[in-house]
C-alpha cells in the first residue's frame, strides 16, 4: 500500500528520461521500504520479545565488529550503486544533443517569456515539437526563478546575469504544467506556464503562424471534433522578423560593427565569424569556451575577458541591452558560421 501511494504518485512520463527516472525512483522506494521494515520491524520484534520481565536476565553484549563491518560495507556498496545510477540518469538529463531546437526563456516577476528562432515571442506558454530534442536557454530579468516540468522530471534554476539550460525530448503531445520553483516574491505561486507539445502537423502550422486549435492537457482526451473544427480556421500570417535578423539589427545599432567583422577579418577587435563554440585564449592566458555565457560575459565585462593579442579598449555594454536583445544578438553571433 505504501509502495503504491509512493511510487504510483509521480506524474505521467512525458519524456524518455522520465521513464529512466521512474525506474531509479521505484528502486529507491523499494530499498527504503526494505530498510524501514528492517529497522522498525526489528524494533517491534525486540519490543515484543524483550519486554521487561523481572524474572528474565539480559545478556551482556557490548558490540560486534562483524556486524559493524556488515552494516558499514553493505550500505556503502548500495549507496555507490545508487550514486552511479543517479549520475548516469542526470548525465542524460543535462547533455543536450547538438541538433536540439533552441528556445530562449526569460523569467521575470511573475511571468515566463519564450523567444523562438522565427522571431515569435510567447508568454506563459511555450510551444515545442514532439519527439524532437528541445533546449531551453534561460535567464532572468530580476531575481532567481526555477523552471520545473514535473512530467519531464526536469528542473533548473533561472539566474539573472547568466544563462542556464535544460533540454528534453517530449514524447506525449498536449499541455504539460510548468512551475516556478525558486521563491521569487509575492506571486511566486502564480508564476506558472504550460509546455505545449505539438504533433508534427501542428508544429508545422505553428511555425507558419497559423492557428492550431485547442490543445488538450497531456494525457487527457482530445477536445470534441466540433470544438476543433470551430477554431482551426486560417488566420492571416503574422509577419515576424527571425531572431537572427533581429540580432543582426542589434549588432548594427549598438555599434558592434565598428570594431568587429562578420567576414573573418580582424579589426580593432577579433572577427565574430565562426567564433561560437570555439575555445578562445584570453589575455590572461586562460582558455574559455565561446558559449552563451561567455559572449554575455564579454559584452558586460569586456575588460575581464580581453582576447589575447588585442588591447583592452572595449567599453561595457552592461545595462544597455534588454534580455531579449541579448538573446537575439547571441542568436545572430551563433549564426555567423
Amino acid at each position: 500500500m505504501i509502495q503504491q501511494a509512493f511510487a504510483g504518485s509521480v506524474p505521467l512520463q512525458g519524456t524518455e528520461v522520465a521513464v529512466r527516472w521512474d525506474s531509479l525512483y521505484n528502486f529507491l522506494v523499494g530499498l527504503s521500504i526494505f530498510f524501514f521494515v528492517l529497522v522498525v520491524g526489528s524494533i517491534l520484534y525486540f519490543i515484543v520479545s524483550y519486554k521487561h520481565d523481572s524474572k528474565k536476565k539480559t545478556q551482556y553484549i557490548t558490540g560486534s565488529h562483524l556486524l559493524e563491518a556488515v552494516w558499514i560495507a553493505v550500505p556503502t556498496l548500495l549507496l555507490m550503486v545508487i550514486f552511479v545510477w543517479g549520475y548516469s540518469v542526470y548525465h542524460a538529463m543535462t547533455q543536450a544533443p547538438s541538433d536540439a531546437y533552441e528556445i530562449r526563456v526569460i523569467g521575470k516577476q511573475w511571468l515566463w517569456t519564450f523567444q523562438y528562432d522565427n522571431g515569435r515571442t510567447t508568454v506563459g506558454e511555450v510551444f515545442v515539437p514532439v519527439n524532437r530534442p528541445v533546449k531551453l536557454v534561460m535567464t532572468s530579468e530580476d531575481v532567481l526563478h526555477g523552471f520545473f516540468i514535473p512530467t519531464f522530471r526536469i528542473k533548473q534554476d533561472v539566474v539573472p546575469g547568466m544563462y542556464s539550460s535544460i533540454w528534453f525530448t517530449a514524447t506525449v503531445p498536449g499541455k504539460h504544467q510548468a512551475y516556478c520553483t525558486e521563491y521569487c516574491g509575492t506571486s511566486h505561486s502564480a508564476m506558472l506556464a504550460k509546455v505545449v507539445v505539438l504533433e508534427d502537423h501542428q508544429w508545422k502550422a505553428w511555425n507558419q503562424n497559423k492557428e492550431i486549435g485547442p490543445i488538450p492537457e497531456a494525457g487527457q482526451p482530445l477536445p470534441s471534433k466540433t470544438q476543433v473544427a470551430g477554431t482551426l480556421g486560417k488566420k492571416p500570417l503574422i509577419q515576424n522578423i527571425s531572431l537572427v535578423e533581429q540580432g543582426r539589427q542589434v549588432y548594427q545599432s549598438k555599434g558592434c560593427v565598428a570594431c568587429h567583422s562578420t567576414d573573418g577579418t580582424n579589426k580593432v577587435g577579433p572577427t565574430h565569424k565562426g567564433l561560437f563554440g570555439t575555445q578562445v585564449e584570453l589575455a590572461n592566458g586562460k582558455f574559455v569556451l565561446a558559449d552563451e555565457n561567455y559572449i554575455r560575459n564579454h559584452i558586460e565585462y569586456p575588460q575581464a575577458n580581453t582576447v589575447k593579442g588585442y588591447n583592452p579598449v572595449m567599453p561595457t555594454f552592461k545595462g544597455l541591452l534588454t534580455e531579449s536583445e541579448m538573446n537575439a544578438l547571441i542568436a545572430y553571433m551563433k549564426s555567423l558560421k
Binding site: 522498525v40 526489528s42 536476565k57 552494516w71 549507496l79 550514486f83 542526470y90 530580476d142 526536469i154 534554476d157
Partner: protein, 544 residues
C-alpha cells in the same frame, strides 16, 4: 520562572539556593542558565508553531485567499522557518539540555566559563529580540534561506532579521567553545575519554561544528547586509555580483548546521536506549566516532543543496558522491541503537517511547535523504514538498523527538518531580500520529510536483493538503497537552528519587534536583557509564 513552584521543600538545591528574579537573571549556575534557555526556546517554539498552523490553515483549500494574502503568507513561512531554525532547533538541545546536563555528567561544578555562559544567553536573547522586532515592522519575506538577489531587493525589514541571526550566532560559537573546554578540562577523576557518556561525545562533535561553521554564517550575513546598504556588488548581478556565490556561503554554514541540530539528539537517544533496555550500548566506539565522521563530512557536502542552481556538472558529481557517505555513519548509529535492544529488558517509559519515535521518524528522514542525494532524483524533487517533508522528518522527527525524549528523561533531575506517565503516553501518540499525518502526504505531494513556498496550489493537490492540515492540528493539540502535563508535573508531580531510571551516568549520582554545586563531594569514576549487568533489569520509577 518556576523558582518556587517546582521545589521539593527541605533540602538545599539549585532551585531554592537563592531566590528572587535577580537570582535568576544574573545567575552563573549552568543549571539555571539551561532552564532560562529552555523556557526561552519553548516560547519561540510556540511562536514558530503558531506560524506553522497558520501556514497549514492557508493551505487547507486550493487557490489562495483562504486566510491571508500572498505577501502575508510569504512572511509566515519566513518567520516559521527562521524562528524554528535559528531560535529553536539549533539552540534547543545544546544550549538548554546540554547546559543543564553536560557539567553534571562530567562530574563538574559548572561549565569552564560560567560568565561567558551567561553572556551567551543574553547574546542569544538580543539576537532573538532583533529578529522578533522585525515582525512588528515590515517583517521579512525571503524565506529562512535569504537567497539573493531577492533578499537584496525586497522592501521588508530583512536587515533586522539578518542582524538578529548574526548576533545569535555568536551565542552558538561561545557555547561551543565553552563546552569544548569543559569536556577537556573538567572531567571528574577517572572519567577517561573512553568512559565519556555518548551525549558528551555528541555535544563535543556539535561544538566543533558550532565553532568552525558559525563564523562563516556571520561573514555571509554581514556581506548581505553590506550589499543591501552599500550596494557593493558581491551577490547582486546588476552590480556585477554572483547570486550563486551567496548560496555557497549560506550552505557552507547551513549544511553543517543541520548536524548541529541532529547530533545532540542522537546523543540523547544513545543515553536513553541502554538505560531503558537495561543493556550496555551496542558499539560504543562506533557511535562516538561516527559523530565525528558525520561532523567531518558535514563540511564538504553543502553543494547538494544546489544541484539545480547552475553550478557545474562536475561540482554536482562530487557533492552527490560525498553526500552518499553521510548515510554510512548515520546508519551505523541507527543499527547500533536497534542492536542495543537485542536481548535487553525493555521498559516503556516516555523517554523510551520518544526514542522509538525518533527511530521511526529519523529513519524515514534519513532514507528520503538518500533520494535527495541522488543527482537525477533530486532534480525532480528539489524545491518541492518532498524536501519539506524530508527535512521535517529529520528536524522534527530527529531533533524534536530527541528533545522530548531528553526532557522526559531528565525531567525528574531538573525539577525533582515526576511527570505523569499516562499523560505522557497520550501526548506521545498525539504528536507522533499527528506528525506522520501532517508530513507523509507531503512526500507524495512533492513527488507529484507541488513546489514549496506556494501560497496557492492547483486543485489536484487539495486532498493531500487537507490531510496534512488536519494532522498539523493533531500535533498542535499534542504539544499543548504536553506543556500542560509538564506544568502539572512541575507543580505537583510525585517526588523523584535521585536515580528513578536506575541509570549510571553521573547526573543520577546526585540528588534530584541537584545541589547548587551539583555534587556534595566530587564523584570518582571507576567504570564506563553503560555497565548494565544481566540481573540489573529493574527501574525504581516502575516499582512503585
Amino acid at each position: 520562572m518556576s523558582n518556587n513552584s517546582a521545589v521539593v521543600q527541605g533540602e538545599d538545591h539549585y532551585l531554592n539556593h537563592s531566590r528572587g528574579l535577580m537570582s535568576w537573571l544574573g545567575t552563573l549556575d549552568h543549571k539555571r542558565i539551561g532552564l532560562m534557555y529552555l523556557f526561552s526556546v519553548l516560547l519561540f517554539f510556540l511562536m514558530g508553531g503558531v506560524f506553522a498552523l497558520l501556514i497549514r490553515l492557508e493551505l487547507f483549500k486550493w487557490g489562495g485567499h483562504n486566510l491571508v494574502d500572498a505577501n502575508t503568507y510569504n512572511k509566515f513561512f519566513t518567520y516559521h522557518g527562521a524562528i524554528m531554525v535559528f531560535l529553536v532547533v539549533i539552540p534547543a538541545i545544546p544550549a538548554a539540555l546540554g547546559n543543564f546536563i553536560l557539567p553534571i555528567m562530567l562530574g563538574a561544578k559548572d561549565v569552564a566559563f560560567p560568565r561567558l555562559n551567561l553572556a551567551s544567553y543574553y547574546i542569544f536573547m538580543t539576537g532573538a529580540l532583533f529578529a522578533v522586532l522585525a515582525l512588528f515592522l515590515r517583517g521579512a519575506d525571503t524565506g529562512w534561506t535569504f537567497y539573493t538577489p531577492y533578499s537584496i531587493r525586497t522592501n521588508t525589514t530583512v536587515l533586522l532579521v539578518l542582524f538578529g541571526a548574526f548576533i545569535a550566532g555568536f551565542s552558538s560559537i561561545l557555547t561551543g567553545l565553552n563546552f569544548i573546554v569543559t569536556i577537556h578540562k573538567l572531567r571528574a577523576p577517572g572519567l577517561t575519554w573512553m568512559r565519556l557518556p555518548l551525549f558528551c561525545w555528541a555535544l563535543y562533535a556539535t561544538s566543533i561544528i558550532q565553532v568552525l561553521a558559525t563564523p562563516v554564517l556571520a561573514i555571509t550575513l554581514v556581506l548581505l547586509c553590506m550589499e543591501r546598504i552599500l550596494q557593493i556588488g558581491i551577490f547582486d548581478p546588476k552590480l556585477g555580483g554572483d547570486p550563486i556565490l551567496f548560496q555557497h556561503f549560506f550552505w557552507f554554514y547551513s549544511h553543517p548546521a543541520v548536524y548541529i541540530m541532529i547530533l545532540p539528539a542522537m546523543g540523547i537517544i544513545s543515553e536513553i536506549i541502554p538505560v531503558f533496555s537495561r543493556k550496555p550500548i551496542f558499539g560504543y566506539k562506533a557511535i562516538a566516532y561516527s559523530s565525528f565522521g558525520i561532523a567531518l563530512i558535514a563540511f564538504i557536502v553543502w553543494g547538494h543543496h544546489m544541484f539545480v542552481s547552475g553550478q557545474s556538472e562536475l561540482a554536482n558529481f562530487v557533492f552527490s558522491l560525498l553526500t552518499m557517505f553521510v548515510a554510512v555513519p548515520t546508519g551505523v548509529k541507527v543499527f547500533s541503537w536497534v542492536g542495543t535492544m537485542y536481548r535487553g529488558s525493555i521498559h516503556f517509559n516516555a523517554p523510551m517511547l520518544y526514542a522509538f519515535g525518533f527511530l521511526e521518524l529519523f529513519t524515514m528522514g534519513g532514507l528520503t535523504g538518500v533520494f535527495l542525494a541522488t543527482l537525477a532524483i533530486d532534480v525532480h524533487l528539489t524545491n518541492t514538498y518532498f524536501v519539506v517533508a524530508h527535512f521535517h522528518y529529520v528536524m522534527v522527527g530527529g531533533t524534536l523527538m530527541g528533545l522530548l525524549a531528553g526532557l522526559h528523561y531528565w525531567f525528574p533531575k531538573m525539577f525533582g518531580r515526576m511527570y505523569s506517565e499516562t499523560a505522557a503516553k497520550i501526548g506521545f501518540w498525539l504528536i507522533v500520529i499527528g506528525f506522520n499525518v501532517t508530513f507523509f502526504p507531503q512526500f507524495i505531494l512533492g513527488a507529484q510536483g507541488m513546489p514549496r513556498r506556494y501560497w496557492s496550489y492547483l486543485p489536484e493537490f487539495t486532498f493531500l493538503n487537507r490531510i496534512s492540515t488536519l494532522g498539523s492540528g493533531l500535533i498542535g493539540v499534542g504539544f499543548i497537552y504536553t506543556a500542560y502535563y509538564f506544568y502539572r508535573g512541575m507543580r505537583s508531580g510525585a517526588k523523584a528519587d535521585a536515580n528513578p531510571w536506575n541509570a549510571q551516568t553521573l547526573e543520577w549520582k546526585t540528588s534530584s534536583p541537584p545541589p547548587h554545586e551539583n555534587f556534595h563531594e566530587t564523584p570518582v569514576v571507576t567504570q564506563w557509564p553503560y555497565e548494565y549487568l544481566p540481573e540489573d533489569t529493574s527501574m525504581p520509577a516502575n516499582l512503585r
